[in-house]
C-alpha cells in the first residue's frame, strides 16, 4: 500500500463531504452574482440621476429592488458558511475516530516510545487544525475561480480594455501565491513540530516539578521554558513574514489594478483616450467597471486570508498521515489473519522462535520458544532490564514476534493485565473498576476491593465507590493505585492473568493477603504469568522462567 500523503488525506476527507461543500460553493456564487446586481443598480441609479437627469422619485423602484435583494444575499452567505461548517465538523469527527482506532491498534508497546501529550495534541488540536481548510478555504478556492470569471465576463462586455487590465494582473497572482505559499507551507510544518515539541517540553517539566524543586532547578527550568517559547516566536515570525507576504503581493496587485482601471476609465470618459473601446464608455459602464474591479479581487483576497488555513491543515495532515502510515503489529491488525491455534490442546499460548527487537536497542528478547499451559502459574525472573516486561508484552500480543517467529493462541483469548504504572482514569472509584467488567454489580466491586485489600480504604471513604480519583491517582498512594489495578484483575473474567511486578510497592501485610488471593485465582483454574523479583511470589509458582540477556531458561521447580 502506498504511503498516505497529506494531500491524499485531505482530498479523501473532502470527497466524503462533496455534496455539502458544492452546495456551499453554489450559495457563494449566487451571493456573488447578487453583489454584481447591486453594483449594477448603484451605477444605473447614479447614471439616471446625473446623466439622464431623472427626478429622484422615478428611481424609487430601483432603490426598492436593491433593498429587497439584500436579505436574499444575507441568507445565501449564511447558508454558505453553515454548510461548510457542517462539512468541517463531519470531516473532523470522522478523522478523529480513524486516528484513535489506529492508535489503539498500534498498541501499548508502540505508544511507550511516544510522548502521550504530543500524541493527544495531534488527536485533538491537529484534527481541529483542519477546521479552517474545510470550513473556509475549500469553498473559497472554488469561489476564487468562478466569481472573478463571472466579473471578468461582465467587464469584457462593458469594456474589453478594462477587462484586459484586470486580466493582466490576475495570472501573476496565483503564480506569486504559489511561490510564496510553498515556502510558507514548509515553515508551517516546522512550526507544527515546534508546537508539538513545546507542549511536550512543558508538560514534562510540569510533571517533574517535584524533582525540579528538590534539586533547586526551577529557575533554570523557567529559563528553558522561556527559551522554548521565544524560539516558538521566532519560528512563528519567520512563517508569518512569508505568509503575510503572499497576501501583501495580492493586495498590491489588487490596489494597483483598481487604480489603473479608475484612471483609465476617468481618462476615457474625458475623451483623452482615442484608442479601442474607451470612447464608448459612459458614466454607467465606467462606474460599474470601477465597482466591479475590487470585487474581481475580493474572492482572491479572501482566499489569501484563508491561505494559512490551508498551510495549517497541510502541516497537520502531514503529521496525521505519518501517524496513519504506521503499521500496527501483526497481532493487532484487524485485517491480519488471526493467530494460529496452539498445536497442543493443553497449551494456552505457544511461542515459536519468537524474538523482539527495538530500533534503538537491538534484539531485546529471544529467540525463545516457551509453551504456556492452561492452569500454569509461571514466575518470570531475571535482572531488571533483561526482557521480562517484553516477554509479557509478547504473550499479550502487544508486540508481534520478528520475522519467522510465531505466537499461537486460541482465538479470542482474553487476559487481565497489570503493570508497574497502573491506569487510573479521571472518574469515580467505580468507573475505574468497571473498566475490567462493565456489568459488575456494586457487590462485585466491593468483593474485588476486598480481595485487593482495599476494603478498609473503601470503608473510610464517605462517598464510597463514588469517590472520584484524579489523573495519575491523585489522592491515592502508589501502593493503593497498584492494589486498585489488582482489584480489576479480580473483577475480570479472563482465564489468563499477566502481572508485571504486581507487588512492587506493597507492604508485607497486603503482600501476604494478595498472595492468598493469587492462590485463589490458581484454584479457580486461572493461568498466571508473573514477572517479579519477589521470593514469596516465586514460591507460588508451578513453573519458573529465568531470563538472562534475552534468553529464557526453564528453571526446575518443586
Amino acid at each position: 500500500m502506498p504511503a498516505l500523503t497529506a494531500r491524499h488525506l485531505l482530498n479523501g476527507l473532502a470527497a466524503t463531504q462533496r455534496r455539502r461543500l458544492q452546495l456551499a460553493a453554489a450559495c457563494g456564487v449566487l451571493a456573488g452574482s447578487l453583489t454584481l446586481v447591486q453594483a449594477g443598480l448603484l451605477a444605473w441609479i447614479t447614471s439616471a440621476l446625473l446623466v439622464d437627469r431623472l427626478p429622484l422619485a422615478r428611481t424609487t423602484p430601483f432603490f426598492a429592488v436593491w433593498l429587497a435583494i439584500l436579505p436574499l444575499r444575507g441568507i445565501l452567505s449564511y447558508a454558505q458558511e453553515v454548510l461548510a461548517q457542517q462539512a468541517s465538523l463531519a470531516v473532523r469527527r470522522q478523522l478523529r475516530r480513524r486516528l484513535t482506532e489506529h492508535l489503539m491498534r498500534l498498541g501499548p508497546v508502540w505508544l511507550a516510545g511516544r510522548h502521550s501529550a504530543s500524541l493527544s495534541h495531534q488527536v485533538v488540536e491537529q484534527v481541529e487544525a483542519l477546521d479552517g481548510y474545510f470550513a473556509r478555504f475549500y469553498v473559497q478556492q472554488i469561489l476564487a475561480v468562478l466569481l472573478p470569471l463571472m466579473i471578468l465576463g461582465v467587464t469584457l462586455y462593458l469594456d474589453w480594455l478594462a477587462a484586459l487590465f484586470l486580466l493582466l494582473a490576475a495570472p501573476l497572482i496565483p503564480l506569486f501565491m504559489a511561490l510564496v505559499g510553498m515556502g510558507a507551507e514548509r515553515l508551517n510544518q516546522a512550526q507544527f513540530a515546534a508546537v508539538s515539541r513545546l507542549s511536550g517540553h512543558f508538560i514534562d517539566r510540569v510533571r517533574s516539578l517535584n524533582t525540579l524543586q528538590l534539586f533547586g532547578q526551577t529557575r533554570r527550568a523557567t529559563a528553558s521554558v522561556h527559551d522554548a517559547a521565544d524560539g516558538y516566536r521566532q519560528r512563528s515570525m519567520r512563517t508569518l513574514r512569508l505568509a503575510f507576504m503572499s497576501s501583501a503581493v495580492l493586495e498590491f496587485f489588487a490596489s494597483v489594478s483598481i487604480a489603473v482601471v479608475a484612471i483609465y476609465v476617468g481618462f476615457g470618459l474625458l475623451g483623452y483616450i482615442g484608442y479601442g473601446p474607451a470612447d464608448e464608455l459612459t458614466l454607467f459602464s465606467g462606474l460599474l467597471i470601477l465597482l466591479l474591479a475590487p470585487e474581481f479581487f475580493q474572492p482572491l483576497r479572501s482566499l489569501a486570508q484563508h491561505y494559512h488555513d490551508r498551510a495549517r491543515a497541510l502541516g497537520a495532515a502531514e503529521h496525521l498521515a505519518e501517524l496513519l502510515n504506521q503499521t500496527p503489529p501483526a497481532t493487532r491488525d484487524a485485517a491480519a489473519t488471526p493467530a494460529p491455534a496452539p498445536a497442543s490442546a493443553r497449551s494456552l499460548i505457544e511461542l515459536d522462535a519468537a524474538s523482539v527487537s527495538h530500533d534503538a536497542r537491538g534484539v531485546v528478547l529471544g529467540p525463545i520458544s516457551p509453551c504456556l499451559y492452561r492452569g500454569d502459574t509461571v514466575v518470570v525472573t531475571g535482572a531488571s532490564g533483561s526482557g521480562k516486561s517484553t516477554l509479557l508484552q509478547l504473550l499479550a500480543g502487544f508486540v508481534a514476534p520478528d520475522g519467522q517467529g510465531e505466537r499461537r493462541c486460541p482465538a479470542d483469548l482474553r487476559f487481565a493485565w497489570m503493570d508497574q504504572r497502573p491506569l487510573l482514569i479521571h472518574g469515580t472509584l467505580a468507573d475505574n473498576l468497571r473498566l475490567a467488567a462493565p456489568g459488575a454489580s456494586d457487590a462485585d466491586l466491593r468483593q474485588a476491593l476486598d480481595n485487593a485489600y482495599l476494603g478498609e480504604l473503601l470503608a473510610r471513604l464517605p462517598e464510597g465507590l463514588d469517590t472520584s480519583i484524579g489523573e495519575q491517582g491523585a489522592g491515592l498512594s502508589g501502593g493503593q493505585a497498584q492494589r486498585l489495578a489488582l482489584a480489576r484483575v479480580f473483577l475480570s473474567a479472563a482465564p489468563l492473568v499477566l502481572l508485571d511486578e504486581p507487588t512492587a510497592s506493597l507492604d508485607a501485610h497486603s503482600e501476604n493477603a494478595i498472595m492468598a488471593a493469587f492462590a485463589q485465582l490458581q484454584r479457580t483454574g486461572h493461568t498466571l504469568v508473573i514477572a517479579t523479583h519477589h521470593p514469596a511470589l516465586i514460591g507460588l509458582a508451578t513453573r519458573r522462567w529465568h531470563i538472562v540477556q534475552g534468553q529464557l531458561e526453564e528453571v526446575e521447580h518443586d
Binding site: T100, Q213, Q217, A262, D507
Partner: protein, 589 residues
C-alpha cells in the same frame, strides 16, 4: 472593592468581564507604544481603503460629467493629476501599511505570549505539591499553550479592530455630515447600532458556548491522553470500545457548542454585509436628494456612498471575534486562578545556617489536608543527630510520601514544627536548603530528555566523567556503555524507554551527584531486583558516610527488604496515619 480571586478556590463564582481581563489589560499596557503603533497602522490601512474607493468614485463621476460637457461642446476643465496621484498613493499605502501592521502586531503578540508563559511556569513552580496535585497534568499543559494563545485575541481581535472601526465610523459620518448633515446623522446612527450589535450583541450570543469551549477541548484531550497511557490495561479488559464511546461523547459536546457558535458567526457576518449595504443605500438616497436640491455636486453624490461601502472592511472581522469573546474570558479566568499572588512560603530572609551537618527534629508534626476525611500524618515527633540513620516504615497510604514532602519542604505541616540544624525548615533560604537536603521521591520523575540531561538536573556543571561515575555507583555504567548513543540516549516520557528498575537507578544516581547533609530516600529500590538492590546498598553506604539518613520503606525488617547498614532506629507509621507513630526503637540487626 472586588477582591482578586484567591488561588484556593478551585471554582470561582463568576466575576465580571472587566475584573477578569483587568490583569491582562494591565500587562498589555506595559507595551503601550508598540500597541499604539500597531493600532495606528491598522487605521492607516483602513483609511487608505476608504480613500481609494471614494476618490476613484469621485474621479470617475467628475470625469464622466466633464466628458459630457466637452462632448456637448462646452468648455470645461478638470485637474486630473491631483486625484490621479491620490489614487496611486492610496493604492500603495494600503498595501504597505497592511503588511507592516500585520507583521508588527503579530510580533508584539508573540513577545507577550513568551513573557506570559514564563511568568506562568514560574508561578507554578512556587506552588506546593498539594496545590498542583489537585489538577490533571494535562490541564497545566493547556494553561500554558492554549489559554495564553487565546489571550492574543485580546489586543489583535478584541481591542484594536473595534476601536479602529469606531474611529472610522465617526470620521466617515463627520465627513458625510459636512456635505449632507442629515446623511451624516443617519449614517452615524446605523453604524453605531451595527457596531454595538457586532460587539456587545454577538459577545452575548456566543458567551456561554465559547467560554466553555476550552474546557470541552481539555476534557477531550485529557481523555485521549488517559486512553493512550492506559492502553495496555484498557485493551486487556476489552474496554477500548467503551473508551471510544466516551471520547465520542466528549467530542459531541464540543461540536454542539461549535455548531451553535458557527451559526452565530454566520448570522453576524450576514448582518454585517446587510448593514453596510443598507447604510450605502441610505446615504445614496440622501445625497441624491441633496444633489436634486443642488446642494452638492454629482461627483460628491457618488463619492460619499462609495466611501460608506468600504466600511465593511472595518466591521467585517468584528462578529467572529466577539462571538468568541467567551474563549478569551474563560482563558483569562483560568489563568487568574493560577496567577493570584503567591503564598509567601519561600523564605528570603538570610537566616544564618551553620555548617554543622544534618541535625533533624520533628516536634508533634501533623498534616491534615483541607476537606480530607482523615489526617495524612498525625503527631510525629523525632530527633536525629548528625550522621544518624533512621528507617521509617509503614504500609502504603500510611503517610510516608507526606513525610517525604514535608522533609523536602514541598508541603508545610498544618501542626508542629520541623527544624534542620536548629533552624525552622521554613526559615531556610531555598538555595541553602536544596544544597543541604537531598530527597528521592517514591515516584520516579525523569524528563523526556537524554540520560545526561536527566543526571545533570542534580548538578548542571557535572562533566561526563562525573556522570559515568554516578552511573557506576548505581551499576548502570556497563549497561549505558552498550547503548549505541551512550549518555545521549533519550529516556522517553517519564522514563518509559528504559525499564522501571533502570529509571529508579537513574533517579538514585542523581543523588550521588550532590553533597547533602540530610538524605531522604522513599522506597529507593522499588522495582529493582534483590541482587542489584544489594549492590546499590553497598554503594549507598559508602556515599552516605556521615550524612544523616531518613529511609522510608514499607517494612524495615522484612526478610525480603534490602536495608542499608547502619540503621540504628526505626519509626513505624501506623495505617493511614490515623494514629501517632510509635516510638522509635533500635532496629534488630
Amino acid at each position: 472593592m472586588i477582591e482578586r480571586p484567591s488561588p484556593k478556590r478551585t471554582r470561582q463564582p463568576p466575576t465580571s468581564l472587566w475584573w477578569t481581563l483587568r490583569p491582562w489589560l494591565g500587562m498589555l499596557a506595559r507595551r503601550r507604544r508598540r500597541l499604539w503603533l500597531g493600532t495606528l497602522l491598522m487605521a492607516l490601512t483602513l483609511f487608505s481603503a476608504l480613500g481609494l474607493l471614494a476618490v476613484s468614485g469621485w474621479f470617475i463621476t467628475a470625469t464622466g460629467l466633464t466628458g459630457l460637457l466637452l462632448a456637448a461642446g462646452a468648455s470645461a476643465s478638470l485637474d486630473v493629476y491631483v486625484p490621479g496621484g491620490a489614487i496611486r498613493l492610496f493604492a500603495v499605502t494600503r498595501t504597505a501599511s497592511r503588511y507592516l501592521e500585520r507583521l508588527h502586531n503579530h510580533d508584539t503578540v508573540l513577545r507577550l505570549l513568551a513573557d506570559l508563559r514564563t511568568r506562568l511556569f514560574a508561578r507554578l513552580a512556587t506552588l506546593d505539591g498539594r496545590a498542583r496535585g489537585g489538577h490533571r497534568a494535562s490541564d497545566w499543559l493547556n494553561r500554558l499553550t492554549a489559554d495564553i494563545d487565546t489571550l492574543d485575541s485580546l489586543y489583535l481581535r478584541l481591542l484594536a479592530p473595534p476601536a479602529v472601526a469606531l474611529l472610522a465610523g465617526a470620521v466617515l459620518s463627520s465627513v458625510v455630515a459636512l456635505f449632507v448633515p442629515l446623511a451624516g446623522g443617519v449614517l452615524a446612527t446605523i453604524l453605531l447600532a451595527g457596531w454595538l450589535w457586532f460587539t456587545l450583541g454577538q459577545a452575548r450570543l456566543g458567551m456561554a458556548d465559547s467560554r466553555r469551549h476550552v474546557d470541552e477541548l481539555e476534557a477531550l484531550r485529557g481523555r485521549v491522553m488517559e486512553t493512550l497511557q492506559g492502553l495496555a490495561e484498557l485493551d486487556a479488559y476489552r474496554a477500548l470500545g467503551h473508551q471510544q464511546q466516551t471520547l465520542e461523547r466528549l467530542e459531541d459536546r464540543l461540536y454542539r457548542s461549535q455548531r451553535r457558535l458557527g451559526r452565530w458567526v454566520a448570522l453576524g457576518n450576514a448582518l454585517q454585509a446587510w448593514l453596510v449595504s443598507v447604510a450605502t443605500l441610505a446615504t445614496l438616497w440622501l445625497t441624491a436628494g441633496a444633489f436634486a436640491a443642488e446642494r452638492i455636486s454629482g461627483a460628491i453624490m457618488v463619492m460619499l456612498p462609495m466611501a460608506v461601502m468600504a466600511m465593511s472592511e472595518a466591521l467585517g472581522a468584528l462578529p467572529a471575534a466577539f462571538t468568541w469573546l467567551g474563549a478569551t474570558r474563560g482563558a483569562a479566568e483560568r489563568l487568574n486562578e493560577v496567577d493570584a499572588p503567591p503564598a509567601a512560603n519561600t523564605a528570603t530572609t538570610a537566616a544564618p545556617h551553620p555548617e554543622s551537618a544534618g541535625r533533624l527534629t520533628l516536634d508533634a508534626v501533623g498534616v491534615h489536608y483541607p476537606g480530607a476525611f482523615q489526617a495524612a500524618l498525625d503527631d510525629v515527633s523525632l530527633a536525629l543527630a548528625p550522621g544518624e540513620r533512621l528507617a521509617v516504615e509503614g504500609a502504603s497510604g500510611s503517610g510516608k510520601s507526606t513525610l517525604t514532602a514535608l522533609l523536602g519542604r514541598q508541603l508545610a505541616p498544618t501542626r508542629g514544627q520541623i527544624r534542620l540544624d536548629g533552624i525552622a525548615l521554613d526559615a531556610w533560604p531555598d538555595d541553602a536548603l536544596r544544597r543541604r537536603v537531598a530527597v528521592l521521591t517514591q515516584q520516579t520523575e525523569l524528563l523526556d530528555d537524554s540520560l545526561a540531561a536527566n543526571l545533570r538536573l542534580a548538578d548542571p556543571e557535572a562533566d561526563e566523567s562525573r556522570l559515568w561515575q554516578a552511573l557506576a555507583q548505581v551499576s548502570l555504567a556497563d549497561w549505558a556503555q552498550l547503548l549505541p548513543r551512550g549518555l545521549a540516549t533519550r529516556v522517553g516520557e517519564g522514563g518509559r524507554q528504559i525499564s522501571g528498575g533502570q529509571a529508579r537507578r537513574v533517579a538514585l544516581a542523581r543523588l550521588f551527584l550532590r553533597d547533602p547533609a540530610l538524605v531522604v530516600l522513599d522506597e529507593p529500590f522499588a522495582g529493582v531486583d534483590r541482587a542489584t538492590a544489594q549492590a546499590l546498598c553497598t554503594a549507598l553506604d559508602t556515599w552516605l558516610g556521615t550524612r544523616t539518613l531518613v529511609y522510608l520503606v514499607h517494612e524495615a525488617s522484612g526478610e525480603s527488604t534490602v536495608v542499608p547498614p547502619g540503621i540504628t532506629r526505626t519509626l513505624t507509621l501506623t495505617d493511614a496515619g490515623a494514629t501517632a507513630a510509635s516510638e522509635a526503637t533500635p532496629l534488630r540487626q
